[in-house]
């Protein structure tokens, strides 16, 4: 048999039916649901008199709108509250394999709770009405974001209409330097290929530097595949994957576990498999990254400077950079480590897992928030992450440093709840998007790793974490 890529294996094992033009019906194993992109789908289903095809595929939680403090007061914003209550009512009516509602001990960001409960397994197809569903590809499953019409389609048919993607292998070889994390790797990749570089592709991340990452690190990398334009990111199964899943609540047990593991070990790209495109990076060249603009591809290193649009010949690109610098309130050629920040956000489906919090705490330990920094929010990805961090004493490290230790949720990654930037405020953020207004109208976002965010919090400006460790 011809050598296959991991993507091709996942694709071909899920094709139910194919149209003449290649459009295929793909079977969906896991459907993650949250409050923002599901109400219209549930309503559509009801209006058409349809029933969900397979309830046991659904895992749901409320995350985007939920507050991260004063949980005793419930959700104060009535519009947010209505959306969360609508999800409660829909799940009550329809059912699910698992539901982690607001204030549940296991509630959290949908892309954190899936993996930590073993609801995301290698070889699955995983969808969710959220673009960062690419996160789950770290487990060698075909996972991507879908729109609300598709949420309804998956509920009604257990399938999705899809065309096969092209394949892109991003190979990162070598050893990452001290203070350089998965976030820096993926920002460097986006800096290289651009935010449209992955359009039409599924990206497999490979090479020794990716193999050396923990599952948390691999999730960070796959999470931002969508920021490179790819709906899906993938990492092949290895011992790290299997060790992570062992004994997770929804992971198979006993003989089932053995059978599953035997299958999962085949979920790698075959030797000699052909990719449509290959991009290679040397891990040793990757330095701590900081974005300076309003797109994740507008990125440089902590040793870099804000670019000068005068040097750009392409007019569309030049105007884009000029517009970004104006919005960001930055002057060309300013050294990155001289840019002061007003807020710091440590959290989001990109960087809110236990390892991320450990990295941030290692920098914060014994230091305090700089006086010019108005607020540092640390928002764990889930109730389980929060309790693990507290068991390790990380909460105390953060609180002693003057950071705020919050309840889990999406929080200031997209500012649908009360956590947000004021107009003109500048933020060092471990989230995934630095778009205009993303963290609050007029807010200015710089994407960094958890360690770099903590470094900015204690220095008051972007600082090289390698000098603090």
């Amino acid at each position: 048999m011809e050598a296959q890529t991991l993507y091709e294996k996942l694709w071909s094992s899920h094709v139910v039916h194919q149209e003449a033009d290649g459009t295929a019906l793909i079977y969906i194993d896991r459907h993650l649901v949250h409050e923002v992109t599901s109400p219209q789908a549930f309503e559509g289903l009801k209006l058409a008199g349809r029933k969900p095809w397979r309830i046991s595929s659904i895992v749901a939680t409320a995350d985007h709108n939920t507050p991260t403090d004063h949980w005793d007061q419930g959700i104060l914003d009535p519009v947010s509250r209505q959306q969360v209550e609508t999800l409660d009512a829909n799940i009550r009516e329809v059912g699910a394999l698992a539901y982690f509602p607001f204030r549940d001990a296991k509630q959290g960001i949908v892309h954190v709770i899936g993996p930590e409960n073993g609801a995301t397994l290698p070889g699955m197809t995983v969808v969710c009405g959220d673009s960062h569903t690419s996160t789950h590809g770290a487990f060698a499953c075909l996972a991507h974001g879908i729109g609300t019409s598709e949420v309804e389609h998956v509920m009604a048919t257990q399938c999705l209409l899809q065309k096969k993607s092209k394949t892109l292998l991003v190979r990162v070889e070598g050893e990452l330097g001290k203070g350089v994390s998965a976030k820096d790797v993926v920002l460097a990749i986006i800096g290289r290929i651009g935010t449209a570089g992955g359009n039409g592709y599924a990206i497999e991340f490979g090479g020794s530097a990716i193999r050396a990452l923990s599952m948390e690190g691999r999730m960070t990398v796959c999470n931002m595949a969508i920021e490179a334009g790819a709906r899906a990111g993938l990492v092949a199964v290895d011992e790290t994957t299997i060790a992570y899943l062992k004994d997770k609540p929804f992971a198979p047990k006993g003989e089932q576990w053995d059978a599953a593991v035997a299958y999962w070990r085949t979920l790698t790209s075959d030797e000699g498999a052909k990719f449509d495109k290959v991009v290679e990076l040397d891990a040793a060249d990757i330095l701590p990254q900081v974005t300076w603009g309003t797109s994740p591809e507008m990125v440089t290193t902590i040793a870099g400077r804000v670019p000068d649009p005068a040097g750009i010949t392409d007019p569309v690109r030049r105007e884009g950079v000029e517009r970004a610098l104006k919005y960001m309130g930055l002057t060309a050629n300013t050294p990155i480590n001289e840019i002061a920040v007003d807020q710091v956000f440590i959290g989001s489906c990109t960087n809110s897992r236990i390892e991320d919090l450990r990295e941030a705490a290692a920098v914060a330990k014994g230091r305090t928030k700089a006086a010019n920094v108005r607020r540092v929010l640390v928002v764990p990805g889930s109730g389980l992450v929060k309790r693990q961090a507290e068991a390790e004493g990380l909460d105390k490290v953060f609180i002693e440093a003057g950071f705020e230790w919050r309840e889990p949720g999406c929080s200031m990654c997209l500012a649908m709840n009360a956590d947000r930037l004021e107009p003109g405020e500048r933020c060092a953020s471990t989230s995934n998007r630095n778009f205009e207004g993303r963290q609050g109208a007029g807010g200015r976002t710089h994407l960094v790793s958890p360690a770099m965010a903590a470094a900015a919090a204690v220095a008051g400006h972007f600082a090289d974490v390698r000098e603090l460790q």
Partner: protein
């Protein structure tokens, strides 16, 4: 879904690349549990000078006169002309809902983000991909000629300029047929219900651990 056949309409040019779905419809409007009514908040942060909130009377808000959609010459536009990677970022289907609710039925640009592209077809909005030089020429003509209109013919897969030049575009045959007829995807898929059931049974037998 509204079928899309032929559209002959005014064009509005949005001359920037990487327009993300947060810009198309900001997050505060995602709290709605409906799928209509997003048009007045399309490009909210660019269109108005204040910060918009759901449930506001948008007619009383201060407009950003510099934003292209606020210029009198582009009122009533149904074709949006744009640049690379339109619709990147969040998967929110509220983006095509807002575009459609505002009145846009076709988008012309050089490339789109995958999820957005897909979402458009579910909502009767046609995203058309043309080569960069054709898009450049459309921008030049549109800006130079007030009342600039394009004719989009989905069946023929053509965009016709006012000067008579016909530009062909590609579209997946399956998507094209669905859009021309305004077909409901779910209804189409359920014609294969027996096949789905058979696939599911076989998968359950082979990989029972995915069906716990």
């Amino acid at each position: 879904m509204k079928p899309f056949t032929v559209l002959e309409a005014l064009v509005a040019p949005l001359d920037r690349a990487n327009v993300d779905t947060d810009a198309i419809i900001p997050k505060q409007f995602l709290k709605s549990i409906k799928r209509s009514g997003f048009g007045p908040n399309l490009f909210d942060e660019w269109r108005y000078l204040d910060v918009g909130q759901p449930g506001q009377d948008n007619s009383k808000r201060p407009l950003n006169k510099d934003f292209v959609l606020n210029q009198p010459r582009y009122q009533g536009a149904q074709v949006l002309l744009t640049r690379d990677n339109f619709g990147c970022g969040s998967s929110r289907e509220h983006a095509p809902w807002a575009l459609e609710d505002y009145g846009f039925r076709a988008i012309v640009g050089t490339s789109y983000a995958d999820i957005f592209f897909n979402n458009c077809f579910k909502n009767g909005v046609l995203p058309i991909v043309l080569p960069a030089d054709e898009v450049d020429a459309l921008f030049r003509q549109c800006e130079a000629n007030e009342g600039y209109r394009l004719k989009v013919d989905l069946a023929a897969q053509t965009v016709t300029r006012p000067d008579g030049k016909v530009i062909e575009f590609d579209v997946d045959p399956f998507r094209k047929e669905c859009l021309l007829n305004g077909w409901d995807d779910i209804g189409l898929t359920l014609r294969h219900a027996d096949k789905i059931r058979a696939f599911e049974d076989a998968r359950r037998a082979k990989h029972p651990y995915y069906f716990a």
